[in-house]
Amino acid sequence: MDRRLFMQVAGTGALAAGSIACPRFFRKAEAAPVIPAGIPTTCELCPNKCSVIAELRNGLIHKLNPNPENPKSRGMLCARGNAAIQQVYDPDRLKQPLIRAGARGEGKWRPVSWEEAWDYTARKLSEVKEKHGPQGTLWSSTEGFQEVFFKNLGMAFGSPNILRHPSLCLASVNLAYSMTFGTVPSFDLLNADFVIMAGANRFESIITPDTMDLIGGVMERKAKFIYLDPRFTVTASKADEWHPIRPGTDLAFILAMIHVILKEERQDKAFLEAFTLGYEQLAEHVKPYTPEWAELETGIAAKDIVRIARAFADSAPRAVFYAGRRSSWYTNDFQMRRAQAILNAVVGNWDRQGGMVPNQKVPKGEFMFLPWDDPKAPRVDEVEKNFPLASAKDGVYLPLRENVLKGQPYPVKAWMVYKQDPLHSVPDQGRTLKMIEQMDFVGVIDIAMSDTAWFADVVFPESHYLERTDPIEVLPGIWPAAVLRQQVAKPIHDTKPCLEIVQGLAKRLGLNDFFDYTIEQWVEAEARELPIANGLEHIKKHGVVAFSEPKYGATRNPVNRFVTKSGKIELFSERLQEAGHDPLPKYTPPAAVPEGRFRMVLGRKATITHAGLTHLPWLHEHHKENDVWLNPEPAARLGIRTGDLVEVASQVGRVRLKARVTEEIRPDCIFMLHGFGKKSPWLKRVHGVGAADAVLLETAWDKVSGNAAMHETFVKVAKV
């Protein structure tokens, strides 16, 4: 059954008409799915990288259709992907390079030639380098196919301060699973019989193929689905059980589950014996974490915890406690994720169908460019010193900002930003603005005038993804793929791809030799090692190379060495102990909600990526304004009704927006969507509409990974 499923998934097109989850009815497609004539490329509207086929009419991009050949995107395209066309034809797009003419944020711009923008930026960067050394520059970016070029420019320039997005995203998850299994696995939701999801709002925050596999699994095969969230999300509405757990106590729930499983000896003993390290310590460690204790912490009845733990263990290995993938919530986030990983290991779902599966990759070649010298200065965020286990390549965002603001250990005076809007993606907008203010120079590369671009000195307009060719990207997973993003239409404005923007700067910074190649050469080198004949031709024609079927159990082999210090799955981690952290996840209760305040929780919506895309008309139609969710009980106490204007205040900021009184949230929490309250008038539909959560969020991070902790803010709500 799974093989046939897979053949459909990876196959040539039964999928277009069919369904992953309901194969019986789709073996014979009604309309033989013909791939419409078009150019295959890869979506960039969120980090999923779904394959699309662009259909052109009269030289304009008419429609993006899903490309069924990509097993990861499961032949679908979400609302955002469909709306990408509107980014291209957005009249408020960045159309040529701009240099600031007035004060920062005043909105006076001087359109300039590329030469002038490059010259100006290179001069500014060189000035900072002269005064403060190359470490005086900060290069921050978010995930993207051309991010590598931007990052490389920063490194070739000699800066140690390359700041990538994981510490605003999944760093704590990645670190926790890596430290346990030596790798970050995928979850085989297509075949799982029992799924527990805590907070990861998989039906509103679409992750391919998890979202599609889970909805199919839950609705078609009746997989049991337990969901924990302070908010009644769309995901909650599809779950068999929704438990509005007390925020910040997921770790107590997980520890109690492990307690029950070990106490009742429902664990996978053979697996633990053969592959793991530290079982005895774990057994001892979880003894005090009884379900009765957890009930007091989580608000979930002890009998429910016991029942769920039993069902989970009994469904193993086709049972997963799903990892989730988003920012940390609390300062102990890493330990909570570690506990998830351990819980999964205890029932032996590792590398089994329906369990956790280490990712496969499609091999590709690599373009060889000239290497540069390693930076001489240490990183400004002192990640090696304070977060020795975190990824030093990516940095830690919030500690970095605090250090830059302090000027410690050295001044950082120039900031280059690619494809990111730190004013909305980083908590405490006020402090991020301060960081901008203390910079001698800020340069932004983006396709639209983001809020950060609005406060920059130079804005470089990047070509839209449909207007450029990017490097080949490998999508690891249970169903891995390599995808190509290739140009669909010529740029309609005076924009350039990131690589060319970088090259223009490199030339003026004397770094030409490191960037002396074209995107075609780069792609060609990558395509050369694709595991298919005529790789380049194939990937240009199909957009995707995907061929392998799921492989289960390769690492369940006595000679396999896990990529951990001990070579085993580490329930107990010596390395954590050495770094001064708890080697086994120890419970610390979350800070109590102060009287008269609410805990602010964040979440996603399927039409919004991070804090972006809210201004695209087709998406904006569905969410014209954000509001603050409030349970009817406190709302009645505060005399607030739906539609009332309220002021929400934290210790770092205050905003005004409309209230939504709803049963769909715990009485001690409030919630608002991101993506609104923009400062940039070029995002006219959301400029000054609603409010930005980044204004309210206070600075807090996970102790181990340095990942921003997003649920540690308490706010007051009052009717205006």
Binding site: M368, L370, D374, K393, V474, D513, A525, T564, K565
Partner: protein, 124 residues
Amino acid sequence: MDPFPAFRRRFRKEAQMKLTKLAVIALLGLALPLSAEEKGSDTKGKFYFKKSCKTCHVKGGSALELTPLSKTQAQWRKVFDAGRHGKAGEGFSPKFGTPEQIRDIKTFLINHASDSPQPETCGG
């Protein structure tokens, strides 16, 4: 068409220069233990690893496929310090790179070994 003009240019120049010095340094350099192992350049090490090692150490290549993850830190150290490279354990001859480059490679492999705090595959 030469897809990597700059790279070749520099590499050739570097190689020529290094080769002339090599005759002098080679014996000395190889005889010395590579004591400053992790002090080499990680970035360059990755490059030289791909450049020099991956020509043979690939899937289907003339030697066993290798990535930093193939060994633990201790094992990598052994390979380099004890000169275990090659069937006969003849070590790294100048054809694999200058001692500096070998040191960079060593740094890269040890920094990202299977049991290192920052493990990584070659492609990663």
